[in-house]
């Protein structure tokens, strides 16, 4: 086969790419559009000024990475609530099973993806940090 034509075709392709708009996102300056169902950091949903979670233990049960720790407590109305709710983000695989398992729609996943931290302890998200911000 003639060896010159493929080279010229290749040169044409690279030249045409020179005039295309680059796909690069100038990340810290430009923010990416996070998809609506992106599985980022978890958030605990709030209703009537308290977390909706009823400490049913379905999410730690279903969690394949065993990263959720829940401890139940009893509030003034003798209702069960999560006294402690922690997610270890170093173990979490962002599968979203906790959200699927939740019977009271108490947990969801947000579009927040910048989860870097300086120490290991900072990756354990306590209930206060997980409560949805309003």
């Amino acid at each position: 086969m003639n060896p010159i034509t493929p080279i010229i075709n290749g040169l044409k392709i690279t030249l045409s790419h020179l005039f295309k708009k680059p796909v690069t996102l100038q990340y810290p300056d430009e923010r990416p559009n996070v998809a609506q169902r992106y599985r980022g950091l978890h958030a605990l949903n709030v209703s009537h000024n308290k977390a909706k979670c009823v400490a049913c233990y379905l999410c730690p049960t279903v969690c394949p990475a065993k990263c959720i720790t829940v401890e139940a407590g009893e509030d003034a109305n003798h209702d069960k609530y999560a006294e402690k709710y922690e997610i270890d983000m170093l173990r979490c695989i962002f599968c979203g099973y906790c959200v699927e398992a939740c019977p009271v729609d108490a947990i969801r996943m947000t579009g927040q993806f910048e989860l870097a931290n300086f120490s290991r302890e900072d990756f354990v998200f306590t209930k206060e940090r997980l409560l949805e911000k309003k």
């Binding site: 290749g10 020179l18 680059p22 796909v23």
Partner: protein
């Protein structure tokens, strides 16, 4: 103008120093910004943007790179042959820069009544009005470009590392085999020009470029030059995927920067030489009435060829070693030999 040193007017020395400075600074700046241009052009050809964050659109990137390399730690491997290890970057760098001495980058300009030919190693005899330049300029360039191999081979050997040695060996084998066909392909040009003086060759191209009279020699020479300066697709001596960084694996800091500069300076020189031999050098429309247009045309041609080098780098993958040798010995050399014969026959018939 009254003062004379060794029988030459003072103006001669001033002009010489000025030409050397201008040519050297031009090559240095081009080398610095060729790295930036390469990253930008290849970036855009891969639908990326290239350096963006140092200065406006990354314009200060070469300076940042230089400063970074300058402050890096110098490492000399304990098992290396120290003297050769230190000498090698110099041997690579110096020939890359001094080749530019014989390349004419413009016609004759007149400053304060003294005529200056724009070529570092040349002057006008004021008595006869004749331009004297190195009459074996092309040979000088071939000699210097083969000297560059020593730096690379020495670097590969002195580093006392397998990767470096392999890179050095590959570089030497590749450069020697491609130098043959590069030299043979420009023989055809000398058969047309009848001279080895580069300024004379440029003058003969004022009507028609040698690239049109010798299209095959032009292509052969450019391809062989790419191979000789180890650029993609012939960058086997520093193939990252197999040889880490080839002959400069063990080098760091400024010594690495010197190899890098030598590589880009070689690219500038090769593009300048191709422009001189085949694309009419500084010749172009209206250059006889405005002498200052000469350098402009010359720089434009050199930069266009450098763009082409980068374009090729963005397009082609690396050759395998046996393919490289096959191309060099079984394609390039026979083609350039045939070219010489055909040129000779046609020249004889026309006469």
């Amino acid at each position: 103008m009254g003062m004379e040193i060794l029988g030459l007017p003072m103006m001669y020395y001033i002009a010489m120093v000025a030409k050397v400075l201008v040519a050297f600074v031009f090559v240095l700046l081009t080398v610095a910004y060729a790295t930036y241009a390469e990253r930008k052009i290849i970036g855009h050809m891969q639908v990326r943007v290239g350096p963006m964050r140092t200065g406006w659109h990354g314009l200060l990137q070469p300076i940042a790179d230089g400063v970074k390399l300058f402050f890096k730690e110098e490492i000399i491997p304990s098992q290396a042959s120290t003297f050769a290890f230190l000498l090698a970057p110099l041997i690579a760098l110096v020939p890359a820069f001094i080749t530019f001495a014989v390349i004419p980058f413009g016609g004759v300009i007149e400053v304060a009544g003294y005529k200056i030919p724009l070529q570092v190693a040349s002057y006008i005899d004021t008595a006869t009005g004749q331009i004297h330049d190195l009459n074996v300029g092309a040979l000088y360039i071939l000699a210097m470009s083969s000297l560059g191999v020593y730096g690379i081979v020495l670097a590969g050997w002195a580093s006392n590392s397998k990767y470096s040695l392999m890179g050095g060996l590959r570089a030497s084998a590749q450069m020697i085999s491609y130098e043959l066909s590069a030299g043979l392909s420009i023989v055809a040009v000398f058969m047309l020009s009848g001279t080895l003086s580069l300024s004379e060759i440029v003058n003969q191209q004022s009507t028609i470029w040698f690239a049109f009279k010798q299209p095959l020699a032009f292509c052969l020479f450019f391809i062989c030059s790419l191979a000789e300066i180890n650029r993609t697709p012939f960058d086997l001596p520093e193939a990252e995927t197999e040889l880490v960084s080839g002959f400069c694996t063990e080098y760091s800091s400024m010594k690495y920067a010197m190899f890098f500069m030598a590589e880009y300076a070689n690219m500038v020189t090769v593009c300048a030489l191709t422009a001189t031999l085949f694309l009419g050098g500084w010749q172009g429309p209206f250059v006889s009435s405005f002498a200052l247009l000469g350098p402009v045309y010359f720089i434009a041609k050199v930069y266009a060829l450098m763009f082409f080098c980068m374009w090729i780098r963005a397009t082609l993958p690396r050759y395998r070693y046996d393919q490289l040798m096959h191309l060099g010995w079984k394609v390039m050399i026979p083609l350039s030999l045939i070219n010489i014969v055909v040129t000779g026959v046609i020249g004889y018939v026309i006469k």
